[in-house]
Every structure is written in C-alpha cells, then in structure tokens.
C-alpha cells in the first residue's frame, strides 16, 4: 500500500481498513456472489445495522439491550405498512385485511399511505419510543439485569400486541407478499442487486457516524458512565442524558435496519422480533466483540452466514452450535472475535522475524520503508 502512494500521503490504518471493507462490500461481493447469496448478504447487513446500535448501547454504554426486536419490528412494520398500501392502490385494503373481514382502513394505517411519513417514521418512531422509555428507566436508575429484563419484556409485549390484532397487523403471519420497493421490483434480480447496494451504503454510513460518536468526547463519557455511572454524576453530568442518547440512537439504527429488511427479505412478522430473535441479536455482538463497533457489525454477518451454511447441511444443527459458540465465547473469548484477533496480533508481534509486512509498518519510520 505504501508503495502505491506518494510518501507524503500516509493513510491511517483505519482509512485503509475501511476502504478494504467498503470495496469488498460494494464491488467484490456483487461481482462474485450469486443472486441468492447476495440477497442473503443484504439481509445480514441489515442485521449488522442492528448490531451497530447494540454495540453502541451495550458495548460502549453498558446497557444490555435484550429487546432490540421491538425497534427492529417498529421500523419494519412502518415500512411494511407503506409498501402494502402502495401495492393495494388508492382506496383499496391490503390483502390480509380483506381476509380478516376488515372493511375500512384503520386510522393507524392511513398516514402510512405516504412515503414522506412512513420512511421517516420507521426511524423516528423507534427513537421516540426509546426516548420516552429511556427517560422513565434511566431516571429511576434502573440498570444491569433489571434493565435487560425490562427491555426484553417490552419486546415480548410488542409481539403479543401484534399477534392479538390480526386485522390490524396481519397477526402471526405479519406483513408479506410484497412486490415492489420504490420502483424496484422485488422479483427482479438486477433490482435486488440495487437494493443490496442501498443496504450496504446505509450500513457503511451508519458505521462511520457511530464511530465518529464513539471516538469523540461523548464516546469517552459513555464509557465513563458504563464503568462508573455514579462517579460521573459528581463530575456534573446527568447520566440519564448520556445513556439516553446511545439508547435512542441504537433504537433508530434498529428501526432503520427493520425498514430495509422488509424489502430485502419480503416479510416482517412477530417471529422475527420476539424474545429469541432479540437475544440472538445480542449474541451476534457478543461473538463479534462488543467493545468495537466494526466487530459488532462483523459478528452479525459472520454468525448469520454460519447459521445459513450450517443449516443447509444440518437442518437442526445450528441451534446447538449457536449455544456452544456462545458458551465458548463467554468462557474463552470475553471480548469476542475482536479480542481473539487482538491477542493473535500481540503474539505475532512478539515472534522473532515477524516484522515483515503490516505489523512492521506501524513501528518503522516512513523513511526506512522503501528499503
């Protein structure tokens, strides 16, 4: 890399790594993957957006968000409602409502006719709900296991509401049978490739924004709150506010991911956002490495890729493997894959003669590099 660029331009390690990942996602993956695999990857990248939020709230902020399915679902249903209404056409009801004997469009649905309402709502509604919940929870100084249980209970309650209102939400089946997404046909392979690129770009942008936040002063403060919430109060900060920002942003990311997931996967249903899926979201982040945003996102892709590969070979094997992986990570890799990579780097750096290549470039001054 250093030889390709004039010596005055020395990209930092981060820029190089980000460029590599962005190139693989935007150019390499569409070139080498089949339509089917690319569409799977698009789904996993949606999950990676959720994972970024969990990395922020849990990894940096210490809030074990065990109910992100709630916000993922809210975003997904906002988008799903819009797509359903758009396809039904003016004055018509979505198909499942007719089957459920609903004759008039429920008032809750009518604003979702408009894209200008539905698309922002997919992100802002989860954020608003997280905002209200967060103020109530954090002000009462509820944290740790109590917070985790509470957030999980909210996801469970949401599922009960969805299932119980068949005519309004499509019940257990959820919303499905989508044909198009803003002019992209969901049956056409080239259109689905465009959809993939949209998801990948959103992921990269959200990651950059999240990273900017994490390395800034706010990020330092968030870590301080995570490690010593009570001490932060005596520095003149209100931890409620600090935690609220991360929690609300995590909800927004989950909502955004849910909204993108609907056209990619063609469905949103209670089974995708209850207790078990919500816990799985946290597992991705734990496996990847919760203290680094990039690894949290990578965890979502790696785990889901493994899940679909294993399930293709051994249809019922994945659940066991996932449980085993989780136990192994907790026992041996508390910092996830990120921690393992870091440890390996440390070992490699100490090996005699390991100086060549990347590791050396960090310690050797620029002048010697040409030699």
């Amino acid at each position: 890399m250093a030889k390709l660029l004039p010596s005055s331009i020395k990209p930092s390690g981060f820029v190089v790594r980000f460029a590599l990942v962005a190139t693989s996602l935007l150019l390499v993956a569409p070139a080498v993957l089949s339509d089917f695999r690319l569409s799977l990857l698009a789904k996993f990248l949606c999950f990676a957006i959720v994972a970024l939020g969990i990395g922020l709230a849990w990894g940096q902020g210490g809030m074990l968000v065990l109910g992100q399915g709630l916000f993922f679902g809210l975003g997904g249903y906002c988008m799903g409602m819009y797509m359903k209404l758009h396809e039904a056409g003016a004055g018509q009801l979505p198909d499942f409502m007719t089957w459920s004997g609903v004759e008039k469009l429920p008032a809750l649905w009518s604003p979702f006719r408009h894209a200008w309402f539905a698309v922002p709502a997919a992100v802002l509604l989860p954020m608003a709900i997280a905002g209200v919940l967060g103020v109530l929870i954090f002000r009462q100084r509820i944290r740790g296991a109590y917070f985790a249980i509470l957030s999980q209970a909210l996801a469970a309650a949401f599922v009960i509401v969805l299932v119980g209102n068949q005519g309004l939400t499509g019940g257990t089946n959820g919303l499905t049978n989508f044909q198009a997404f803003f002019g992209l046909s969901l049956a056409s392979a080239p259109d689905k490739r465009i959809l993939y690129l949209i998801v990948a770009i959103v992921l990269l942008v959200v990651f950059l924004a999240g990273r900017e936040l994490v390395i800034g002063r706010y990020g330092r403060l968030l870590i301080a709150v995570r490690d010593h919430e009570d001490r932060v109060r005596f520095l003149g900060y209100d931890p409620t506010r600090v935690k609220l920002v991360a929690y609300v942003l995590a909800a927004g990311m989950a909502g955004m991911a849910g909204a993108l997931f609907v056209p990619v996967a063609g469905i949103i249903s209670p089974a995708l956002l209850g207790i078990v899926p919500s816990i799985e979201m946290v597992i991705w982040v734990a496996l990847g490495g919760r203290t680094a945003l990039a690894w949290a996102a990578a965890g979502a892709v790696i785990v889901n890729w493994a899940k679909s590969s294993v399930s293709e070979q051994f249809p019922s094997g994945w659940l066991y493997l996932q449980g085993l992986l989780f136990v192994a990570v907790i026992l041996f890799l508390p910092k996830g894959i990120a921690g393992a990579v870091e440890a390996l780097r440390g070992v490699a750096a100490r090996l005699p003669g390991a100086g060549r290549g990347r590791l050396r470039a960090r310690t050797v001054p620029a002048a010697e590099e040409g030699a």
């Binding site: 002063r217 706010y218 330092r220 109060r233 005596f234």
Partner: protein
C-alpha cells in the same frame, strides 16, 4: 473574615435508627481551608456525602452562596460550584489520564458540542495535569496508575472544574511524606486562588501544618471548632481521641 459561603444548619442523617449526623451546624467562610477531624464513625464523610447529595438528609438545611442545596441532584450541585473527591479514588480506568481530566473539564460545555471530537489539549487540562505531576503519563490508561497517582488524578479532575468549594475526603491517605507535603502545598495554593476547601483528614500532623481552622466531630455532632492549637487544648477533644483506642488504620475504616 469574609462572608459565609456555606451555612449548614441542624443537619440530621439517620440510617435505620443510627444517627450518622445528629444536628450539625457549620459555617464556612469564603477562601477558608477548614479541616474536619474526629474519630471513626464521627460522621465526617457523611457530612461531605450530604453536601454533595450522595446521601439525603433526614432534616436540616445547607445553604451554599445563599441557595438551598438539599433536594438538588448530584450534578446540579457540581454545577452550583461544589467539587469533591472520594476516599477510595474512583477514576475511569479504561480511559487515558488525559481523557479523565478532559471529560471533567468539559462538564459545562453544551451537550451538542460533546458529540464532536476533542481537538488537542486545552490549556486548563494541561495545567491541571502538570499541577499534580501527571503531565508525562497523560496518554497512559488511568487503570495503570498507582494508588497514589489515582488520588492525584482525582484531584486534577476536580481542580480543572474550578469549583468554589472543594471537598476532599482524606486526600493524603496512603501517600508518602513527600506526597503529603505536595498535596498540602496544592491545597494552600488552591485556596489562595480563591477556592474554599474543606478537608476530612485523620493525619494530625498534616492538619497542624495546613489547616486554618479545624472542626472536631464526634458521634454525629460538632464537638468544637477553632484554630488547630485551640482544638488541641480542648479537654473533651483529648478525651475523645485518647479515651478510646484509635484504630491504627483509621483511614480505611471510616464511615461511608
């Protein structure tokens, strides 16, 4: 003497029937360095905890610059101009020394500007680090510091906030003689620059050297108050200190 900065009246704190503070009256003048001494369980730390709202009083009033503090939250009290340290230093171990001081220094910034990245090191942060001798260690994680250095870091974090009233809870516990001297000089300098300082301390030697006035507490009450010499002459004080064997490691066993 100048006017009163802190005026505590009939302050009471009861934990399950135990009177940690039993009607404390205390007046601190501006620019004063006041030491609060007394045997274990006298309520010295509880006094600091109540002023900073870590502990809610059962009754009583705390006026700071004429405003009531009782009922305010911890961070509001910091914004009112009161800073404190803790007996066991509690710094943010995953952050660097510099980042610890930097977030302490940024507490008055509007929240939005916290979202941006830190650019360089502000003069006041550099100054605070130098004043406690941690300038060279600023990039190190705070978790790697020794016990004494963590105490210094806490002092730097509170100094950089430029409080009007500084509450120090046993600042020299576990420090060497030389470090004690430096801490004492720092306290004197801070007071000269206009901060009022209240120090809870066990070390009588340290008290003799650096106190303007001392308040002696015993069993939740103020026993007496005066210059260090006056206090040492007081019969009841002698009785309290000599009448019961003092725990040699008193610092660690003080009340929470």
């Amino acid at each position: 003497m100048s006017s009163a900065l802190l005026r505590i009246r009939d302050l009471r704190v009861t934990f399950d029937g135990f009177h940690a503070l039993d009607g404390v009256d205390l007046v601190l003048d501006e620019h004063e360095v006041r030491f609060v001494i007394g045997p274990n369980g006298a309520g010295k730390t509880t006094l600091i905890d109540v002023i900073t709202s870590l502990v809610r009083p059962t009754s009583g009033s705390i006026l700071f610059a004429g405003e009531e503090l009782v009922g305010r939250t911890e961070h509001e009290i910091v914004h009112a101009g009161i800073g404190r340290t803790f007996q066991t230093p509690s710094v943010f171990e995953e952050l660097s020394v510099l980042e610890n001081v930097d977030i302490a220094a940024s507490f008055r910034l509007p929240f939005r500007s916290l979202l941006r990245r830190r650019k360089g090191i502000s003069d006041e942060v550099a100054q605070a680090l130098d004043s406690v001798g941690l300038g060279e260690l600023r990039e190190d994680p705070a978790g790697s510091l020794s016990h004494g250095q963590k105490q210094w870091l806490e002092v730097a974090m509170v100094l950089v906030q430029r409080p009007r009233l500084l509450l120090l809870d046993e600042p020299v516990a576990g420090m060497t003689q030389e470090e004690r001297l430096r801490t004492g000089e720092l306290i004197t300098r801070v007071a000269q620059e206009g901060t009022t300082v209240l120090v809870v301390e066990h070390d009588m030697d340290f008290v003799r050297r650096f106190a303007h006035r001392a308040t002696v507490m015993h069993e939740g009450k103020v026993l007496t108050e005066g210059t260090v010499a006056e206090v040492q002459q007081n019969e009841t004080v002698r009785e309290v200190y000599l009448g019961r064997p003092r725990d040699a490691r008193g610092a660690a066993a003080a009340p929470v």
